[in-house]
Every structure is written in C-alpha cells, then in structure tokens.
C-alpha cells in the first residue's frame, strides 16, 4: 500500500514479460488508485416530485436520485469504459461455440435506416417493405438450412430452442401422444437441457461414445415411446461431424420422436450440408453467430426456427407470407400455432443485419466463409503445442491444456493480445480449450494466436496464476464476488 492508503498499481509486466510476438496493454483508467469511478460516484442528484407535478401526489413517487452529468462528461465516461473492453475489431476472438466473426459495418448502416423504424402494430398494407424483407429472410434461411418454413420471432438461440421444443410438443399433442422426454448428448450446450426443462420435459442425458460422437447403442437404449425429441448439434461441440446422422435420425424417427438441430455450429457447414437433408425436423439458426450480426456484449441476437412442411402449421403467430394472389405480403396465424415466444416480432434490427449479410455474401460467399472457418481451425490446431485429442474437426477444435489449468492458461493468453478460447468445456476433454477462430482471421493473425498458445503452454503455473497482467483489471476473485453479492451502486453504500 502507498502512503495514502491506495493500493499500489501493479502493472509490472516485467516479471513475466514475454519479449516476442504480439503483446497487448489494455487501457486502464484509475482515479485515486481505484479504477474509473461509477457514474453515481461522479454525481448524485436528487429531484423532488412536488406540488407542481401534473399528477396528484398519491399517484407519484416522492423523489428520484440519479447522476446529473453533462454530455461531455458522459462521452468521456463511456469512451473510457469502451477502452477497457475488447471486441472483435481489437484482435482475435477464438471463443469456441460462439462464432465471433467480423461484423460488417454496412449492416449497421442498414439497421439504422429510418424506414426500418416502424411500429409492430402497423397495418400490413402500410409496412409491405418490412413484411417483404421478413419473407425474403425466411426464404434465405429455409434454403440455407434445407427447411420448408422459418419463423423469425425467437429473439435468441435459447428462445429458438424453446420455440422448437414447444413445436415438437404441439406436434405430439396433435397426434394424441403424450411424450415426456427430451434426449440430449452430454456434450451439448447447457441451453438444450435448460430449454427442455423449461418446456416441461424430463431430460435424458446421452453419454458420448469414445470417439466423441453419439453412441448409437446408447441412443437406441435411450429413445422410446416417451421420446419427444433428440436435440443435437452437428458438428458437435468437439467440431466433429456426426457421421451416423442418418442412422441417428432413423432411430429417433422410428421411435416416433423428432430430431432437433441446434444451429450454433452451422458456420461449419454452409453450402456443404444442410440440417434438413440430414433428417432434422426442427432447427434454430444463431444469426449472431453464422450470419455475423454483432454479439453486443451478450446480445441482442436472434434465433429463427426452421421446420419441415409437416410442422409448419405449428409455427408462432403471426407468420408472414406472400399473399396467394401475389399482390403483397400478409401476416397470418398458422392453423395450430404454438402462440408467441416474443411480445412482438423478435429482434427485428438484428434480422435486418442478417438479411443484409446473406444478401452480400450469396452462395459463393457463404460457402467460402465455411471453407475458411474450417481451414483456419485446422491450420491453427496444426500450429500449436497443446494436444487436440479428437478429430477430424471442422470450424472448431478442443485442445487440452494438459497439466495446466485451462482457466489459468486462458487468463495468460489475454496478455498476448488475443482473447482466449472457451475453457473447461466440453468436459470430455481434460482442461479443455475450445477454439473457434472463424474465417475472420488471416494466416498472420492465426500465427499470432498460435504463438500465444505456445508461449502460454511453455510457461509455469506461477506465471499463469499471476495472469493477466496487461488487462484493465488484474485477476478477479469471482468466488469472493459471489459470496458477498453487491449488484448495484446502492449496495456499495451499505
């Protein structure tokens, strides 16, 4: 501690400083030894709601206390915060399962068009442009996934899963069947399990085979009269294509169940394989992954759902289509619609961006995106010292940090100017480093990434545990933060 009691800045990258390759020093703003103050620490102004209010006082609150800061002060506050944040344009972002692509700038411009800013309750006749774009995007996505009908309403991937599983439930109910179970491989995304439970199903977890894929025998044992659906990601979270997909589909369909495709890994397959052709009945698309809409620090995304013709009548309402006489577009309620999964029409401005991206790339661009994504993953894996136990993988691979702690290794990678991979998942690989470089990286940047992997692989545990050193904040004690939850600036005053 320094004389005034403020903690000494510990910016001494010299201890473990690498001296080659790309290094990264993130901006770090401090004030009296603490990081950038909160808005509420910069100002707190209370406003009384008094006699001059247009409402009687029994209908109003007494006062409101918020920061009162000028625009220049706010511009500086948030600009500093942005400098303490890392985006795709900052450097490589190879988070496995997340598909952190480059987000084209022009899609931001089209999402900002004033013509896009219409109210969802507008008459169909007055928003023909919006309905046409929706219908065109439904058509694009249907072709890309090999699906007959697509809804754009689900606002995220998990919402797409919820929609798809509810469609499966409605389908079985319409057939007079009471099916209570959803089968999910142990390596699946956590959302799959949570979605099935939320929709009221029992989860049957399927152990992976030794090769990391679906174990057909285990599948045959798991499915039966109670099976509503199997939820599957293909390629799976290890990047492996489920080679037995036709047999898997047959097993599930023979038991009367439906096959659900989790679209998180669709970027591996564009133009090479389509879920509809593999036997999937329902799927969701993650447009913030496959179709390059920005992740926005966690959202908004969009999770359109595609279905076979047989399931189209269960899609959420309203659905959009070209009128029978071709004169325009209309909204309608599908015959056995599951209802709604979003208050209005989903994350519209995200969908506009996705439409623009697909229209820009077309067949050749989409196929090329997948080719480059898969080549990049394979090239990167070939250049790193960590072992990659499962293959052949596609757009992502899961390396093992071996004797190192994967979370510590990831923290250390931050010092090398790259975002680390997803860590410690899937659990089938010890100390997993799940890596998806996407097509957005060139060979030089992949070499930088490989250098970062290898530098970290060669470092000792003490160095990893001390990392990161060059980021805005040092290692954060998350266990301690959870033990004493303080979730607002008001809680800090207590």
């Amino acid at each position: 501690m320094s004389e005034d009691g403020a903690p000494e800045p510990e910016v001494d990258a010299g201890d473990h400083a690498p001296d080659a390759g790309t290094l990264y020093d993130q901006a770090r703003w401090t004030d009296d030894g603490e990081y950038e103050p909160l808005l509420a620490e910069k100002d707190a102004t209370a406003v009384e709601i008094g006699d001059d209010s247009p409402l009687p006082d029994d209908l109003t609150r007494d006062s409101l206390e918020l920061p009162a800061l000028s625009e220049p002060e706010l511009a500086r506050h948030y600009t500093r915060l942005s400098q303490m944040n890392y985006g795709v344009d900052s450097g490589p972002f190879p988070l496995g399962s997340c598909t952190m692509k480059y987000n084209p700038k022009f899609t931001e411009r089209v999402a900002g068009l004033p013509e896009a800013a219409v109210h969802p309750d507008r008459s169909a006749g007055s928003v023909q442009g919006t309905l046409e774009l929706q219908a065109e995007l439904q058509d694009y996505l249907g072709r890309i996934g090999g699906m007959d009908a697509v809804t754009l309403q689900p606002p995220a991937g998990a919402a797409g899963e919820f929609t798809g599983i509810r469609i499966a439930a409605a389908y079985h109910e319409a057939n007079g069947e009471d099916r209570t179970e959803v089968v999910i491989p142990d390596s699946a995304h956590g959302t799959n399990f949570a979605t099935a439970a939320m929709a009221g199903f029992d989860v049957v977890e399927l152990p992976s085979a030794e090769d990391g894929r679906v174990d057909l025998e285990a599948l045959e044992a798991a499915v039966g009269d109670d099976t509503a659906a199997l939820m599957l990601t293909n390629p799976n979270t290890l990047g492996l294509f489920e080679r037995d997909i036709e047999a898997i589909a047959e097993v599930v369909h023979d038991a009367g169940g439906l096959l659900y495709y989790d679209g998180a890994n669709l970027n591996a397959l564009l133009g090479r394989a389509r879920p509809g052709d593999m036997g999937f009945d329902v799927m969701h698309y993650n447009v913030h992954k496959t179709f390059a809409t920005p992740h926005g620090g966690g959202g908004p995304g969009a999770g359109p759902v595609g279905v076979t013709a047989e399931l189209a009548e269960f899609l959420p309402t309203p659905h959009v289509r070209l009128q029978a006489d071709g004169s325009g577009y209309e909204r309608y309620e599908p015959a056995q619609s599951i209802g709604k999964v979003h208050g209005f029409a989903g994350n519209w401005l995200v969908l506009v961006r996705a439409f623009a991206y697909i229209a820009r790339l077309g067949d050749a661009g989409l196929a090329d995106a997948s080719a480059r994504a898969v080549l990049n993953a394979n090239y990167l894996a070939s250049q790193i010292d960590y072992e990659v136990p499962y293959g052949p993988f596609h757009h992502e691979f899961v390396a093992s940090a071996g004797d190192q702690d994967a979370a510590d290794a990831a923290k250390r990678m931050l010092d090398y100017g790259v975002h680390p991979p997803t860590t410690k998942w899937p659990e089938i690989v010890d100390e997993a480093l799940m890596t998806e470089p996407t097509e957005a990286e060139g060979m030089g940047s992949l070499d930088d990434l490989a250098a970062a992997f290898d530098a970290v692989a060669a470092e000792d545990d003490a160095t990893l545990e001390a990392a990161p050193e060059r980021t805005a904040a040092g290692r954060i004690d998350q266990v301690d933060a959870a033990r004493d939850p303080r979730l607002s600036w008001q809680a800090l005053e207590d």
Partner: protein, 443 residues
C-alpha cells in the same frame, strides 16, 4: 470475364496463404477437411446471388422503402422517445458492439461497469434491491416472473392472475412460459382501464401464485389502486408482479412502496426508439429471490491489486453451469440494448427524466382534450390520468377511421369496433397540430 473478387469479403488471405495453410494441415484441398458422408452432402445451390456492398445496401433500402411513410401515434408496449445522438455514438463503439458476454472479466471491465450501472439505475427506479442485466423484452420478462413465482411462492397454487385487458401478445408469451411448469393463466376484471379491486379480490384465493398488474396499463391509464393490489396479493401470499418502463417509473408510484415483489417491463422505452417491437426486458426483484433470478447479474469483486472490479456473478443459477436445473434457459440477452438504455438515462439525468415523464402525462391529457373537441370523437374513454396514451371512442367504425388516417399520413391503434388508441411522446409531439387536423377530417 472472371471477377477477381470472389468468396467472402470478410475472410482475409490470398491463394498463397491458403496453399501454405493446406500444406501445413497436410491436405490437398479445403474440401478434404469436411468429414461429411456422401448421402448427406449438399451438392445443390441456395440460389442466393452475391452482391457488392453497394448493391446489398440498396436491396435493403429499396425493400424497406416500400413501407409507407406514416407518422405513428402508437404505443401499447412499444414506445418511441427521441434517442440522443450520444446513445448511437457510444453504442456503436466496436469495443462494446462487437464484444462477447463478459466471461473473461479482466478484459471486459468497461461493459461490465456499464451493465452494473444499468442495474443500479433500475434499482433506483423500482426501489427493489436487485435488477438483472436484461431479458429479451417485457413479455418474456413477465414469463420469467411467472416461472420464478412457481419456484418461490409460499402457497401451493398454480394460478397466475393477469388483467383482462392485457395485451394479447404478452398474454400468449406468458402462457408459453407458464405451460412447462403447469401454471394456469387467468384473467381478473378491470374497470376504466385499471384494476377492478373488488373483482380482483373475488378472483383471488390461496391457489394464486402470482398477481400481475401494469402501471401505466396497456391503454395508458395510471393505476390508482396499486397499494390495494399489493395488499391483496400479499394477503394470499401471492407474488405481486408489476409491469412498467423506465420513463413511467421516474414519476409514478415507486414499485417498492406498493409492495411489488418483481418489476418487469420495457427498458427499451429509453435508448432504442421504434424498432418493430424489438425490446429490452426489464427485470428487478427483492433480495429474497436473488438466487432465483433468471439471466445474468453483474457484481462487484476485487482484483489481484485489491481494486474494485466487476464480474458476472452467481452464475450457478445459469444454464451453462446448472443445465436443466437452471433458473432459465436464457443465454444471449439484450446487453447492448441495456447499455443504450443506461446511456439514455444518464443523458437525461434525474431532471430530464422526470421532465420527460411529466411531459408524457401532459401531452396525453392535452391531446385527449383536443380530440374530445373533435366531432365524432370522445376522449379519453377511461376516467383516469394517462401516461403517453389513451383510448378514444369513434362514432364511425374505428377501422375506417384508422384507414382514412393512413391516407392522411398517420397511424393509430384500432382496439375495438368504435375505439382507437393514441400515443403521444416527445417524438411525435411536433406534429400534433397536423394530427388533430387530420382526425377532424376523418372522424
């Protein structure tokens, strides 16, 4: 002529790089990397023609250009307030826009702090202890509140009571969320656009897990009996869930003061503008239910230098850890929209926010009075104070009035055979005179 530019424009590298990379991997061509059995190989085409950036942009412009240019006087859950340029500017910074969920907090302090500040603003606005850093929209936040009520209710009930005038879309989303845990959604009566307290009392029994009310209600009425609603719910040990938005919360009764257990609503009333219904789900609750909160929470911790730092916390509630036992399946949320709301709130400050809220009362009151003076109209229908919007009776069929209004360049809601709903804010206030003239033409 063969075009030299092919493939994805967002994938770096030339043919030499590709050859070197293939060589390093040890394959002859990139297709060798796809381990896809022939029967499921796709050998067709999507039939989507690649376009230049200019052409792709013009395609969207041309398509959306087919929307009629109408000035909207519309609300009912999706509101338009002027969004300051600072919001667009800061939310466009790539460090925010293109970043991921903050699972590596050391390199994402900026976004975490912005979300922590967003949560804090909602704590002030609601008076509740905890706010999460967003759900998809008001309707899904309400659905999540229902599943929370099922987990925490101290009664053994499975009934969810909502106002009979609840927006249909919101009710359908709620029903979807209620279906899994076998909750039943039922209506209680309203009068003059707000809760019929006696009717609610009659509908309540010990089987009720949750009572939902809105302030303002879907027809814009300000609820005069919120405290009574809270008491009734409390008497039956049902959860009291209140729907609102950050502008209304700045002026109307503080939810904590009327006994609200959960507040849900549209945070996108600030920071977003009209976006065809794209929203931001507000979700706040009492500390008692902290471990039952759906979605992400940002908390305070310390880093290795003992400084205060921010991190996602209590993640054991979430799907990526707890799987089928998670509080919700939500993963991707509306983080950037929450940041936009926070910047908008900060830009307004407490004075600006309360001024804006009071304007919403005065603008609605004045416009209702002016429309009431138009022959063929009566407004407001409900004998209540209003916020932003109100319903009006039309002597002529409402659908015909609305259609004629479209020809005059305006859009309103049709909510009954002889009833329209009109919403006025700072966004459309400059053209109120023309709107009233148009109403006089068509009513």
């Amino acid at each position: 002529m063969t075009r030299r530019t092919r493939g994805s424009p967002y994938a770096p590298g030339d043919a030499d790089d590709t050859a070197a990379m293939l060589d390093a991997v040890g394959v002859d061509g990139v297709e060798d990397l796809f381990d896809i059995p022939d029967p499921v190989r796709f050998d067709g085409e999507f039939g989507i023609e690649p376009r230049s950036e200019r052409d792709a942009r013009r395609l969207v412009e041309r398509t959306l250009g087919r929307n009629d240019e109408l000035t909207e006087f519309m609300g009912r859950g999706h509101y338009d307030h002027y969004v300051p340029a600072l919001v667009d500017d800061l939310a466009s910074r790539q460090e925010f826009l293109t970043s991921y969920t903050q699972y590596q907090p050391e390199v994402a302090q900026g976004f975490l702090q912005a979300l922590f500040e967003y949560q804090s603003m909602l704590v002030e606005l609601t008076g509740l202890d905890v706010a999460n850093c967003s759900m998809y929209d008001a309707a899904t936040a309400l659905g999540e509140a229902a599943t929370l009520s099922q987990r925490v209710r101290s009664v053994s009930g499975d009934r969810i009571l909502v106002p009979d005038r609840l927006r249909e879309g919101k009710r359908e989303v709620l029903a979807a969320y209620a279906d899994g845990p076998d909750l039943t959604v039922e209506s209680y009566p309203t009068a003059e656009g707000t809760v019929d307290v006696e009717g609610l009392a009659d509908a309540l029994d010990d089987d009720v897990a949750m009572v939902y009310a809105e302030n303002p209600t879907v027809c814009g009425a300000i609820e005069p009996e919120l405290g009574a609603v809270g008491d009734l719910a409390d008497d039956r040990e049902a959860l009291f869930v209140l729907g609102s938005d950050p502008v209304a919360l700045a002026l109307l009764e503080r939810p904590a003061d009327v006994g609200a257990d959960v507040v849900v609503g549209e945070a996108s009333a600030l920071g977003a503008g009209t976006a065809y219904g794209m929203g931001t789900g507000l979700f706040a609750t009492r500390e008692d239910f902290l471990r039952q909160v759906p979605g992400r929470l940002v908390g305070v911790g310390e880093d290795a230098t003992d400084r205060r730092a921010f991190t996602l916390t209590l993640q054991t509630r979430e799907q990526h850890i707890r799987k089928e036992r998670a509080t919700s399946n939500i993963c991707t949320n509306q983080a950037l929209m929450a940041l936009r709301t926070a910047v908008h709130v900060a830009t307004l400050g407490p004075d600006g926010l309360v001024d804006l809220a009071e304007d919403c009362v005065v603008l609605a009151r004045d416009l209702a009075a002016r429309l009431d003076g138009v022959s063929g109209l009566r407004a407001p229908v409900n004998d209540r104070h209003h916020f932003r919007e109100f319903q009006a009776h039309t002597d002529q069929p409402a659908a015909a009035v609305a259609a004629d209004l479209e020809s005059e360049g305006f859009a309103v809601h049709v909510v009954g055979e002889h009833r329209i709903q009109v919403c006025v804010t700072d966004a459309n206030e400059p053209v109120v005179d023309r709107f009233v003239d148009a109403m006089a033409e068509v009513a």
